[in-house]
């Protein structure tokens, strides 16, 4: 199959270029393996990857215009030449490697940890299966960044808008029956940007490789804010 890959090494290249590769693609081949084959031909090719099964979240990239995880993307279904580019809207460090620091900063901004104010019991904090079910579809996020880097609102305001990944985690803790910081969390999301820059474009839902729905989570946060406001 034919692949057209974004290449840029700031140490040697005056500007980025697209390079064509022809790769033998046995049945069942994932895009990550095709990229490793390119790396065997040219060791200077750089991309992040690790677990190879879609749980570590390292190898997010833009494939034929859509953000995906290379390790769980079958090459067989892709239109040729397969165009592989770094995530849009992020500064490129080299080839497919982008600077994700603003993405991580927005994650940190939502205080993504359980806050408990009551004294801790000597055993577990009890939680009903029904309350635990509310975390399904939220806690599975792997922080790959596919969603936030395909969100036009995040492209425009990555410094002010938390973006879908961080907001999904904001809801993950608001939805947790064990968490005791609801008011602080909601107060921290006020203002025109952090939460309300989401315009329900739903690119995040379309690209999430884990099938999660940040738009719905954002909707739940807005509903909770309204309910608290009344």
């Amino acid at each position: 199959m034919k692949f057209r890959v974004y290449r840029y090494n700031p140490d040697t290249d005056p500007k980025p270029r697209m390079v064509d590769y022809e790769i033998k693609t046995p049945p069942g081949m994932m895009l990550r393996e095709a990229l490793l084959e390119i790396k065997r031909q040219d060791e200077g090719f750089a991309f992040r990857h690790s677990c190879g099964e879609g749980v570590c979240g390292s190898d997010g990239m833009n494939v034929n215009g859509k953000n995906r995880l290379a390790c769980i993307t079958l090459v067989a279904g892709l239109k040729e030449p397969v165009e592989v580019r770094p995530f849009p809207g992020r500064p490129v460090i080299r080839d497919l490697v982008v600077d994700m620091s603003q993405f991580y900063e927005q994650y940190r901004n939502v205080q993504p940890y359980l806050v408990r104010k009551d004294p801790l019991p000597e055993a577990e904090i009890l939680q009903s299966p029904a309350d635990r079910d509310k975390l399904d579809g939220l806690y599975e996020c792997i922080l790959c960044g596919c969603c936030s880097t395909s969100c036009p609102s995040f492209w425009w305001n990555p410094d002010k808008f938390h973006g879908p990944a961080a907001l999904l985690q904001a809801w993950r803790f608001l939805a947790d029956s064990r968490d005791q910081a609801t008011d602080e969390r909601l107060d921290a999301l006020e203002g025109p940007y952090k939460l309300f820059r989401c315009h329900t474009i739903m690119s995040c839902v379309e690209v999430c490789p884990k099938g999660l729905n940040p738009t719905r989570a954002i909707g739940h946060i807005k509903e909770l804010m309204l309910a608290k406001g009344l």
């Binding site: 879609g54 749980v55 940890y113 009890l126």
Partner: protein, 587 residues
């Protein structure tokens, strides 16, 4: 060139469960903690752990830590150190509660308590009925734990050096560990991190085998650093092959799949575990199940076109159990095999998974090595925890659900002991320039230009060699041939060259440094496996098929200098209870 220096109270190398649980302990005590990780912390391989973490909470069935201890000692084929095992099984209970308080979204029972499932090698009442001891967050327990620990470290304002690669440890003439030389991957610039204490928590080295459940990053970096710093590696012959990796591909299918009621069949549709483990069946210890599968295939009862695997049947469990309890497994099967495990069986084969051996430590996480006064002298300032360490709680074979437990308990224990050490050693010791020479040399070596073999070629040969010569069943003949080839390959690495010498995010350079590490741990594994002339736990010698307690109930130690083998005794005395003497091991 002067290399910039930073100063910390504690340096933690590796940001998986062990490193992050230690960091959390230390940062919570207001110390200056640096965590160095070659990947962003939530990419660490703890994230891929599926089935759960063992603790005798007794939420589902009666249980206590002493039964857990018995199972772990028996599972270890009596090579585990019983003081450390007692400590781990006692600590398991508060450790899991602490994790729950930290936010881990464990699955729940109707009582609101943590869900616990059946896992291999787990019994009630010292070898009786199957126990339910493995605390689970669906089949994504590692992910749930790693993210919660990272989150709590953010809260504690731990200092993270993300995408920094550790080159080598720094030691002074008196043997103190003074930190490490690291490389910032993005800029390609070296940095010295001086630290009063250093914890190695770099995980495993499954990448030394061709087919593995391990991630690309699992290259034994910390173990090899320890070797180069003069510390031996312990029990490296004991490498676990997980019974159920996806055949030919390697993705892990959790033991929880069998814990939820799945079972294995051969080409005749026989439930063959009945012949190998009449009582425990598919939930026998991992070494037993892996040997059973390998034997079925060797004896011509394998499935598929080439008869090279067996099948794991889950379809009788129904869509609801598969969807609720094993959603990650369902995703893996759909993605990589195009099948739904609620409808079709999964092709599986034993796959390289976990190192029981590693950097020798005591139960406080302190690295111990042979020195003037005996085989277990503490290396001051140096700690290790998690898969890279050998406490030894797993002995010759680890039980499922005990590895998340090990990293959490001993990560925390190391953090606690580091606090104590820092109280007694409050000042930085001077770092002599000479202490940097070896580390800087290792980095400079890959700057050599010119023609030479590629890293990829040597790495591929190494992985094939280890798979062919050091797998589930072993003989002297096959391993000796492997060792000769491995020594030749080690010579060839000298002639290897990088083509790409650029600085910015040079992954080829990182892979070269990783290859050095893989070569060192591969050599340790093969030398240790050839040395041990008995069958125990995961180490199965066809030429020495029996366990031999009289001669071999001892830990092996591999020294890099001269590929020397040595040994030390097993600690059979627990902390407070009676010791479990060796018995024949049947399931």
């Amino acid at each position: 060139m002067t290399i910039p220096r930073r100063h910390f109270d504690a340096l933690i190398i590796g940001a998986g469960g062990a490193g992050l649980n230690a960091a959390r302990r230390l940062a919570g005590a207001d110390l200056r903690v640096a965590v160095v990780s070659k990947v962003f912390p939530t990419r660490s391989h703890t994230v891929a752990a599926q089935g759960g973490v063992n603790a005798a909470l007794a939420n589902v069935l009666p249980d206590n830590w002493h039964w857990h201890m018995f199972d772990t000692v028996k599972g270890s084929d009596y090579l585990g150190d019983q003081d450390a095992i007692e400590y781990m099984c006692r600590e398991a209970i508060p450790t899991v509660y602490e994790l729950e308080h930290a936010g881990v979204p464990f699955s729940r029972l109707d009582t609101g308590k943590i869900y616990q499932r059946a896992f291999g090698g787990m019994s009630q009442n010292f070898g009786g009925e199957q126990a339910a001891r493995t605390c689970a967050a669906a089949d994504r327990t590692g992910h749930a734990i790693l993210h919660a620990l990272y989150q709590q470290n953010l809260r504690a304002r731990t200092h993270f050096f993300d995408e920094f690669f550790a080159i080598d440890l720094l030691r002074d003439d008196e043997g103190y560990c003074l930190g490490a030389l690291v490389l910032e991957i993005e800029t390609g610039e070296p940095l010295v991190i001086e630290s009063k204490t250093t914890l190695i928590a770099t995980g495993g080295y499954g990448q030394v085998f061709r087919t593995t459940t391990n991630a690309y990053i699992n290259t034994g970096d910390g173990m090899a650093m320890a070797l180069r710093a003069g510390v031996p590696l312990q029990d490296m012959e004991f490498y676990q092959f997980h019974p159920t990796g996806v055949a030919g591909k390697g993705m892990l299918i959790t033991e929880g799949a069998r814990g939820e009621g799945g079972y294995l069949i051969n080409v005749r549709g026989e439930r063959f575990m009945e012949r190998y483990a009449p009582r425990a069946l598919d939930l026998a210890s991992r070494d037993v199940v892996s040997r059973a599968i390998a034997s079925e295939v060797r004896e011509g009862r394998g499935c598929g076109e080439h008869g090279d695997h067996v099948l794991l049947k889950l379809d009788h469990l129904g869509k609801d159990v598969v969807g609720r309890r094993l959603p990650g497994i369902r995703d893996i099967c759909r993605t990589f095999l195009g099948l739904d495990p609620a409808e079709e069986p999964i092709p599986v084969f034993p796959t390289a998974h976990y190192a029981m051996g590693g950097i020798p430590t005591d139960r406080f996480g302190r690295v111990v090595a042979p020195a003037r006064h005996g085989p277990e002298e503490v290396v001051p300032g140096l700690y290790a925890a998690g898969e890279c360490a050998c406490v030894s709680v797993h002995g010759a074979n680890r039980l499922g659900g005990n590895s998340l437990l090990d990293i959490l308990v001993f990560g925390r224990a190391a953090g606690t002991d580091m606090l104590q050490y820092l109280r007694e050693n409050p000042n930085h010791r001077p770092l002599p320039d000479a202490a940097l020479d070896q580390a800087a040399g290792r980095l400079a070596r890959w700057d050599r230009k010119g023609d030479g073999e590629s890293i990829a070629t040597i790495k591929a040969e190494l992985r094939k060699l280890m798979e062919d010569h050091c797998s589930v069943f072993r003989t002297r003949e096959v391993m000796a041939e492997g060792l000769a080839k491995l020594k030749a390959l080690r010579e060839r690495i000298e002639g290897a060259r990088l083509k790409d010498h650029s600085r910015t995010f040079n992954t080829a350079r990182i892979e070269a440094l990783e290859l050095d590490n893989l070569m060192d741990v591969g050599m340790a594994t093969l030398c240790s496996a050839l040395y041990r002339e008995e069958s125990r736990g995961a180490h199965s010698r066809i030429d020495f098929p029996k366990r031999n307690d009289a001669e071999w109930m001892k830990h092996s130690l591999y020294q890099r200098d001269g590929d020397r083998m040595d040994f030390k005794p097993v600690r059979t005395k627990p902390l407070t209870v009676d010791s479990f003497p060796p018995k024949e091991r049947v399931y």
